[in-house]
């Protein structure tokens, strides 16, 4: 496909807290020949509200989403959770609309739409991958992120034990049931540490915020890095930590 016109849906969390992930998506998609736009009218998919029980607020955000992204060939989000919210829940909230069907999580877009698994990345670290619940079960991205990671030069991919177990984030669940959330996190961290990986990656900054928050508290030295940043990293322009 030549020069698809792609809108980046950064998601409110990544836009605000993890700008490097969104920059990585832009860099990666442009490297693969896409024309990338970031409509500044975008804000949030409404998942925070919807999942906490505030459906009316979520409904108006779903309408906003449909308006903002109407004119694009594709919308790409670096989040299985938010892409899942758009595809699975928006139709029920604001009626089915074009941007809803054209919204993809990053790994889906790369593999299914662009048809690439080798994105020319270089990332010389030992990495383990956590398949976040909404990517895994709501979108069914399956092996796609792993297929992408296996093609990254220098990267040593190590399998995460009990990978399909939830990390315990769950949006407001992490606050409302903080202790249960932490118990789930403890098991996830133990699995990550058992792999001996230096980096844990995933397709969602929300879950990574939770996992790396725990790893950082314990001074484990293991970092959480979004899949997009690994895939954007090249020998010419390697990934660097931002303060």
């Amino acid at each position: 496909m030549s020069n698809p016109r792609v809108a980046l849906f950064a998601t409110c969390l990544t836009d605000t807290l993890y700008p490097e992930t969104a920059k990585a998506v832009v860099r990666l998609l442009e490297r693969l020949g896409c024309t990338v736009d970031f409509p500044l009218e975008q804000t949030c998919c409404g998942q925070l509200h919807f999942n906490t029980g505030y459906a009316d607020e979520a409904r108006s955000l779903a309408h906003r989403y449909a308006e903002v992204f109407e004119g694009y060939d594709y919308v790409v989000a670096p989040s299985g959770s938010c892409a899942g919210m758009v595809r699975e829940t928006h139709p029920g909230l604001c009626g089915s609309s074009v941007p809803v069907e054209r919204t993809f999580e990053l790994s889906e877009f790369l593999v299914d739409v662009l048809g690439v698994t080798d994105v020319g990345a270089y990332f010389p670290h030992r990495v383990t991958y956590h398949p976040t619940c909404h990517s895994l079960r709501m979108l069914g991205v399956g092996e796609k992120p792993l297929r992408l990671l296996r093609q990254v030069r220098g990267l040593e991919l190590v399998e995460l034990p009990q990978a399909e177990q939830c990390c315990g984030f769950g949006g407001t669940f992490a606050l409302k049931n903080a202790e249960t959330s932490t118990a789930m996190l403890a098991d996830k961290m133990r699995c990550v540490q058992d792999t001996g990986a230096q980096v844990v990656t995933a397709g969602d900054n929300s879950c990574l915020m939770h996992i790396s928050g725990g790893l950082s508290r314990l001074r484990t030295g293991v970092r959480g890095i979004h899949l997009a940043e690994i895939l954007a990293s090249t020998e010419e322009q390697p990934w660097v930590a931002t303060p």
Binding site: E41, T43, H49, L175, N177, T180, T182, G214
Partner: protein
Amino acid sequence: MGRNPVTWLGSPVFPKAAHTALADTQLRANLRKATTTIRDKRASAVAELADWEELRRAGEAIKDDVLANLDTYLLRLEESVTARGGVVHWARDAEEANRIVLDLAREHGADEVVKVKSMATAEIGLNEALEAGGIRAVETDLAELIVQLGRDRPSHILVPAIHRNRAEIREIFRREMSEAPVSDDPRELAEAARRHLRRKFLSARVAVSGANFAVADTGSIVVVESEGNGRMCLTLPQTLITVMGIEKLVPSWRDLEVFLQLLPRSSTAERMNPYTSVWTGVTPGDGPSRFHLVLLDNGRTATLADEVGRQALRCIRCSACLNVCPVYERTGGQAYGSVYPGPIGAILAPQLADDPSDEQAASLPYASSLCGACYEVCPVRINIPQALTHLRAKVVRNKGGRNPEALAMAAAAWVFADPRRFEAAQRAGSLSRLLTGAGPIGRLPWPGSKWTATRDAPSLPKESFRLWWRRNRG
């Protein structure tokens, strides 16, 4: 409004109950071992069937048809049961159902009844009601017996004593049985229970059972079990009283084929359960000479009225959702404060309780990270995450808008409604770096403190992505 005993009186809200459960290392070890084992076994039992997805869809379709035409099927069932010599009773709520069973037991001169494990009778607190009426109810399912003798509460739909290990069980038996087991060897424990129960089976005149399925066309009631104790209850006593929820129907005999494949693989990871008992009215000279069927509503009609929530009534009580639930695995079933724990309990119990003032019931739809593992394994495709968010919306409506969470949510919605406000909020946040510095944040004020108690928080970047985009690309 009368209180529906589907949630246990005095149970704390879920986060509080979880706090206690999470501190119990023995409980967590017992649960982890049990759920991990059954989870793996279920996965391989299901993988053997190439048509599992079709079976799930068939199960879903049959149950949806039953729910859509419940009135017709129930009347048909009543007619078939009556034609075959049974007596049908209708019970609106727990109190009515308990009174019917108590009166029947008294009428037939029983001071003790034997029971085959039944969720419906646990839901209505039948044992306690009988006790208050001077009649002892003896549970004959092994796990249920352990719970009863331990004066404990169940913690799992299928294995109510899943939270106990064998050393604990031996202690309970030693205290409560006339012939106590000599060791905690499982065979030894089972033998002790068998001796204990045998005496009960041979002397009981009245038995009370639940039902896994009832066939509308023929009036047949079906119970599936593993130990055969249920079959003793269903055949030896003179009077059999079955209490079943009105949603347990299937239209025809053929429909059972689907569920007798779905249920055992989902619940015990077996190709088929060891005992499937079917009884249809009464047969002279064979089995009980009197059969009563109590059809229990207890909140089901109200649940049926909710378009999204009603799918919970498809449930065939297999407990697969409990075994895969990461929340259940850490907290155990008692934290849910109901005979229906785990993901299905989190959507079923609050609906059956149907009481907006019940804070404990209102905390249950939030007892989930929405990971979706429950939906994936559900043999009748109950979209539990969907029902959970739907019920959360109901909780929010009942609470009204004047509480810290609702105000925070309204503020967030106001910010997200306009990209300029969102950008302003981001700028304000970036300024907070002056206070927190550039590294991870170890302590935040409430409600962020709930996060930073165990997790560092990321510091806000110097500029958000949208500011960067505006500067470089805009």
